[in-house]
């Protein structure tokens, strides 16, 4: 189980350094390599070093289709991962047609946010991953959980059809919503996911997103700068 597990879509916002340390120690205890934090009130430069990788994500909600490009462009400069929440079908379509989006998040409790074929295909073609929130199985009970599981199965079916990358997350709104990677794998079995798909959703796909952002030589898929000519040589 020595894999580089990431949970980059958590919703919990640590208010101060002790709460951030508590989150980090719990994630490390559970075996995560890195955690994505939506935003932080503290200055990023003031942060102490942590034993796991901290990824600063930016979650955009209630995006206006006409201003979407500028919002995403600003966000992608400030953060390492841009997550955009699709409020309805029209909005989701605009999001997947815009460059710079890393993860598309579609809330499971809103029927208007259901994933359709067009959005799934566009997202897959543009290398945008889809958030796969298993926290819905943890948080909800009764009919709401049944509907959430039906929607997750539908998303998994579309993801398999179009080779769409799914990023597994707990969607934690508190540190008590966090679960270990193996617990998430067990939960993913409930919606028909295989072990390999679940592991890829916590290791390969988040790593791919971070690689694109952190590697200065990366241009686009399969195109990278092999040797950078330095000023000294010139």
């Amino acid at each position: 189980m020595d894999k580089n597990y990431y949970d980059i879509c958590i919703k919990y916002i640590p208010q101060d350094i002790p709460s951030l340390k508590k989150l980090v120690s719990l994630m490390k205890y559970f075996g995560y390599k890195g955690v994505g934090i939506p935003k932080i009130i503290l200055e990023q430069n003031d942060l102490p070093s942590f034993p796991i990788d901290i990824i600063f994500t930016n979650e955009l909600k209630n995006t206006n289709s006409s201003k979407l490009y500028s919002q995403i462009n600003n966000s992608s400069k400030k953060s390492e991962c841009t997550i955009v929440v699709g409020d309805n079908e029209k909005n989701s379509r605009s999001i997947v047609e815009t460059s710079g989006v890393d993860i598309l998040s579609l809330p499971l409790d809103n029927k208007a946010c259901s994933l359709d074929y067009v959005v799934a295909k566009f997202a897959a073609d543009r290398g945008i991953a889809l958030e796969f929130d298993l926290g819905a199985i943890i948080r909800y009970r009764g009919g709401k959980r049944v509907l959430a599981m039906i929607e997750l199965k539908h998303r998994l079916m579309l993801a398999r059809k179009f080779n769409l990358n799914l990023v597994l997350t707990t969607g934690a709104q508190s540190i008590y919503d966090i679960r270990s990677p193996h617990d998430l794998i067990s939960l993913s079995y409930l919606v028909g996911m295989t072990k390999e798909e679940a592991i890829n959703g916590m290791t390969k796909f988040p790593n791919d997103i971070l690689y694109k952002k952190r590697n200065p030589n990366y241009i686009m898929d399969d195109i990278e700068i092999a040797n950078r000519i330095t000023e000294e040589i010139l």
Binding site: I137, Y176, I178
Partner: protein, 111 residues
């Protein structure tokens, strides 16, 4: 009485779980929440097939016995426990073993 051969004995798994909560949790509370989570997620029929037993509980750590085929189901059900006695809680599976001795030696020393 002669012991059953190994091939005929039921295969069990022993899950070592740790309760992470602000307050101390009693044995009855963790047992009640485990059964509630199982029947809520899978229903009573499948829950009965899992043959869950809480064997030991001390220092917020427990050993839960289940059949070897239902390990993932039990693990998923334990992950859905969010509250015990009104307090936010995480039930974290520390490890799984095929024998009680193995579970105790490998994952817990103080139980």
């Amino acid at each position: 009485m002669k012991m059953l051969p190994a091939s005929l004995r039921p295969r069990n798994r022993y899950l070592v779980v740790e309760v992470i909560s602000k307050n101390m949790v009693s044995r009855e509370e963790i047992l009640r929440e485990t059964f509630e989570a199982m029947s809520s997620l899978f229903g009573d029929t499948i829950s009965s097939e899992c043959s869950i037993r809480l064997l030991k509980f001390a220092n917020q750590k427990a050993i839960i016995k289940c059949t070897h085929m239902s390990t993932e189901r039990v693990r998923a059900a334990l992950a859905t426990i969010t509250h015990i006695n009104g307090q936010r809680t995480i039930v974290h599976v520390v490890g799984i073993s095929g024998t009680i001795k193995g579970a105790t030696e490998k994952y817990i020393n103080d139980i």
